[in-house]
């Protein structure tokens, strides 16, 4: 568990959610701390994305509250949270197919003049990709562009749902390093994914989601020493 003096910059707390009669989330909570990467792990269908979406107002939670900075949001909205410095990277398709990557960056800078487009260029590596539409990029290129775009925003809080999805090991490492750099600059990073090795390497706090609820395992080393987490999630890593 994080030390008692730490105050989370983002807290998604006590979320309950049911789809029809099927309960998906049972009192699930997750926190993101300034300058740290929090990794949320869990098997498919355990409710990681649902928890994030409820916390960011993309799905209506039955019960729950989102606290960003010192503001409590009982009915959160991504637009309001984004104005307060949060950026959400969904698990797929952030970009509009009608615009080039460069046009997306222009829009970002127009809205947030403090944005740093150079971060996107660093992660994208090939500047020619900026002139392409999202549908002209390969899956890996698009994902790198999306993570770079999120970093270019210079967010106070970055919530990234499976940012390493579909990336080659080297690219996954680069993107994980990018998340680490953002955290080092003071951003609170909350990340999910199944690339346990790459994510554990950059994680400061580990949260394990199982049975619709969250278990805060503490640091990477504490998580690796957690018997149930090892046997029910990690297995051979």
């Amino acid at each position: 568990m994080p030390g008692p003096r730490l105050t989370p910059r983002l807290a998604i707390e006590s979320v309950w959610k049911q789809f029809g009669r099927r309960p998906v989330l049972r009192n699930a909570s997750v926190w993101a701390y300034a300058g740290a990467v929090t990794a949320l792990f869990g098997r498919n269908g355990e409710g990681k994305s649902t928890l994030l979406r409820c916390g960011l107002g993309l799905l209506r939670a039955d019960v729950g509250v989102t606290i960003l900075g010192d503001r409590r949001h009982h009915r959160p909205s991504l637009a309001r949270l984004a104005r307060d410095g949060l950026f959400f990277l969904p698990d797929r398709d952030l970009f509009s197919p009608q615009l080039t990557v460069a046009a997306h960056v222009r829009g970002l800078v127009a809205r947030f003049p403090e944005a740093v487009p150079a971060r996107l260029a660093t992660l994208l590596r090939d500047p020619a990709l900026l002139g392409r539409h999202a549908w002209e990029l390969s899956g890996g290129e698009r994902r790198r562009a999306e993570v770079g775009y999120a970093g270019a925003r210079g967010p106070g809080v970055l919530v990234a749902d499976e940012p390493l999805r579909g990336l080659a090991p080297l690219d996954a490492q680069a993107v994980a390093g990018h998340l680490r750099t953002l955290a080092a600059e003071g951003c609170a990073v909350l990340v999910t994914g199944h690339e346990a090795r790459a994510l554990l390497d950059v994680a400061d706090h580990v949260v394990w989601m199982t049975g619709g609820t969250t278990h805060h395992l503490g640091t990477r080393d504490a998580a690796l020493a957690h018997d149930q987490f090892r046997s029910n999630y990690l297995r051979h890593i």
Binding site: S77, L78, R92, L94, H104, G107, L108, R153
Partner: protein, 110 residues
């Protein structure tokens, strides 16, 4: 009271306005076809150009709703949300072109 509604920045603004204009044109075309089929060509100018306030407002609302649905279908709501643009902002923006064109068509001399 602060409403906190923001319009999208430049490239996204143009894209959404264009989509709303295309949907309005399609809506108008459908109205013209409807009038042509059920009332004949002689009613086309009188009934299909100036629809009257209730029908104009209904068409504008429909265009705004369809534009929002199109944004959701393309999963662009998260991108716009990250730029601080809410669904209310999208609906408001998408209703501007049809309202403006409806006003112009009613003012235009026939």
């Amino acid at each position: 009271m602060r409403l906190g509604i923001r319009l999208p920045p430049a490239p996204f603004l143009g894209v959404l306005l264009r989509r709303a204009v295309v949907l309005w044109l399609l809506g108008r075309l459908m109205v013209a076809c409807f009038v042509l089929v059920y009332e004949g060509a002689e009613s086309l100018v009188n009934d299909a150009v100036c629809l009257g306030a209730p029908a104009s407002l209904a068409l504008s609302g429909l265009v705004a709703a369809l534009t929002l649905l199109d944004v959701l279908r393309r999963r662009e709501d998260i991108l716009l949300g990250n730029l601080g643009v809410s669904r209310t902002g999208i609906v408001l923006l998408a209703s501007l072109p049809p309202l403006a064109f409806e006003a112009l068509t009613c003012l235009a001399p026939v």
